[in-house]
Symmetry: C2
Subunit: 201 residues, 2 copies
DNA sequence: AAAAAATAAAAACAGATGTTCGCTATTTTA
DNA sequence: TAAAATAGCGAACATCTGTTTTTATTTTTT
């Protein structure tokens, strides 16, 4: 990718970030200091050929720039800066979930009853709503008027909600009238102190 | 918000999700089974008045639906469905980080040396690159040709990288020539089995 | 140095797109 | 029940927007 191409991409990316929709060809021309739309179109065609952006032909403001997301870095060779492209194993797009969130929600974890599962106080757990859950899966449940995160366990002795911490006792579901499977655990997310990126607004 | 308004929003949201750009008024009309663009415009104006969507007037495909993100649910009253609006404490937008990722990257955790900090094998840790780190902070380090996630500890005895697991020994930094602070921990993210939403692509 | 490719301009064109107007039917509110 | 708001249609209009064509200049490649 040439410098010039890079500049086009940057402009389009920041336009989309600022406006929520992509720029028209004339807006790109203006932004790049050009006075002809033809020049812009040629560049866009070339960028599209290279796969650096996607266009749905003839559609107004239909430019899409493929989101790479945040790099996932694996093996790192000694002496090589961690940013080195050769170490990037892939990219993680956190926003995919936001977009296709089919009723998912976060619960903020209160207490350490799932400590042995590496889920601790203050963590956010992403729950996928579902009325059923498999044996051994971790999920969110409503029992006796409270919502709790536990492992679902069902055997000959009955159904239990299992904590993952010696200090807590299994909850015998049979002893309560009020029981509901809310959903099951899909993700655990923990923000460390001073991390402002994910503050729920 | 009326049912009808809800349907408009849903259609527009899914169109944007599918295409990457918002629908034209005629496309909305078609999608909603209407034959006049005027009807659509009226509805869009009303939705915009209510703040349910944003339009930058006269701009083709300029509809934006404010992203709320994923709801964070806190206290939940007995008997109330978890989706109840009154329980939503806020919304978490995961995509904010993607956008403003200033060099952040994920490391996939290998091993259980930070188990006591509730960071386990297979977790993804988000690292903010930085050449410095405070005493007691968890960070990523390169030492002796390997990258490791540890707690940084500095006292009268020297500098150590502390594991959070009895089975591992502190690493005395002074004994190695090759040492570098890569960055510090900002987030821990764990995908549970069968969670396809965050597969690094 | 000559040929090829990239960059750019200006103008014209066609189609896509948002807006407006007049009119009617239905639903909701007072 | 009467008035007001909502929903809808169809047509006409103005603008926005992507495309194409022609020509010229600059840069890169051979």
């Amino acid at each position: 990718m040439t410098d010039r191409q890079q500049k086009f991409i940057k402009f389009i990316e920041s336009f989309i970030r600022d406006n929520g929709y992509s720029p028209s060809i004339r807006e790109i021309a203006k932004g790049m200091g050009l006075s002809s739309t033809a020049s812009v179109k040629k560049m866009l065609d070339r960028l599209a050929d290279s796969g650096l952006l996607n266009r749905s032909g003839n559609i107004a403001r239909g430019i899409e720039i493929p989101e790479k997301g945040i790099p996932v870095i694996g093996r790192i060779k000694a002496g090589v800066p961690v940013e080195a492209a050769e170490n990037v194993e892939g990219y993680m797009k956190l926003d995919r979930l936001t977009i296709r969130s089919g009723g998912h929600f976060f619960l903020k974890v209160d207490g350490d009853s799932m400590k042995e599962e590496a889920i601790v106080d203050g963590d956010y757990v992403l729950i996928k709503p579902s009325p059923v859950i498999s044996n051994g899966q971790i999920g969110a449940f409503r029992i006796n008027g409270e919502v709790t995160l536990k492992t679902f366990r069902q055997n000959a002795e009955g159904v239990y909600l299992m904590p993952a911490n010696e200090e807590f006792e299994p909850i015998p579901v049979g002893e309560y009238d009020d029981f509901e499977v809310i959903g099951h655990l899909k993700m655990v997310l923990r923000m460390t102190e001073g991390s402002d990126a994910f503050e729920p607004a």
